[in-house]
Amino acid sequence: MSYIALATTTLGSAAGSVTFSSIPTSVNGVALRDLVLIFDGTLSSSSGNIRVQFNGDTSSSYTYVFMLGSGSGSGASGAGNFDGVLGGVVGASIRSAQIFQVMDYSATDKHKTVLNRSASQNDNVYAIVSRWPSNTAVNSIRVIVSGVNLASGTTISLYGVA
């Protein structure tokens, strides 16, 4: 018993964000090591990068490194700070499927790291690593694109990996 569905929501109407709170560290006595967040959706308008914020931390303390392929050329890579774990681009006309692997999310002896793989319709393919510089256990996860609503029909699922 290692891959446990914690929650899934499909938005019935547009929403500014989705927050999973009081994330357990175990289920039925089985300790969870990692979390897997799956995003499949669009925005109500415009476009932007997905942000995944831990424990209400909206500061730009998160660091990232990405690489992308645009469908032509040799790709691109960048690094920097962001106000959340960095995900790939999603938009009103850019359906995006993204998987975030949140490693050792409840450990208090290390910073939290996240691997992201994203595939976006009419956009790029991404691989991204992010780090949240905190030894605090992750107990809430907020999914947001700054200033834009997640569109109706967007599905976000959260799994625990024992």
Binding site: I4, T63, V65
Partner: protein
């Protein structure tokens, strides 16, 4: 939209379809460090139940460098590097590099002892059909590090041997894996 989950710890949650992905073994490195993390007797223990294996790890090394690339994965104790071949796609934070890594089952870059405190690198390795005896073994990995070490990487690695995999060794070849590094082995069933 808030979704509170606290009740799950007491009430239980739904197992993902068919319980086909299962934790087999897990190791957390202790205070003395550990040069090699090994999963052994795999064929005996798991070949009849599982079709694929996955290793999920979060690690750093004790080597006195900021970035430690001297790490390897070896199968069945085979340290003859010419039996392996790897290709890498790496984002450095400024450019993307794709190259033939040659006979090198390297795992990539981890934060070393000189990296920032509490920085560990995540990695997910998929080992496909490890117990099949009619094909050479192939692995792929997704890994990265953001902080003192900047890289995001995807590797493919082949082991030119059709033997069933009995041992997976994940080695820090110069230093050791540092305390709190975690290595977990998962099995993916052939049938539910």
């Amino acid at each position: 939209m808030p979704i509170p989950l606290g009740i799950l710890a007491a009430a239980g949650a739904r197992q993902a379809a068919g319980a086909t992905f299962e934790l087999l073994e897990s190791t957390v490195v202790g205070s003395g460090g550990q040069a090699s993390v090994e999963f052994t007797n795999l064929t005996t223990k798991y070949a009849t139940t599982y079709q694929h294996l996955q290793v999920r790890l979060v690690a750093r090394t004790t080597r006195a460098v900021t970035e430690d690339g001297a790490t390897r994965i070896l199968l069945n104790g085979d340290s003859t590097l010419s039996n392996y071949r790897a290709h890498f796609l790496v984002g450095t934070g400024s450019t993307v590099v794709s190259y033939d890594a040659g006979n090198n089952p390297e795992l990539g870059s981890f934060p070393g002892a000189n990296a920032g405190a509490n920085q560990f690198a995540p990695m997910v390795i998929d080992l496909l059909d490890p117990f099949e005896t009619t094909k050479n073994k192939t692995m792929r990995l997704l890994a990265g590090s953001a902080g003192s070490v900047n890289s995001i990487r995807m590797h493919s690695t082949a082991w030119f041997n059709t033997n069933s995999v009995t041992t997976i060794a994940i080695n820090a070849t110069v230093g050791s894996w540092a305390q709190f590094s975690r290595f977990s082995l998962y099995g993916i069933k052939a049938t539910a």
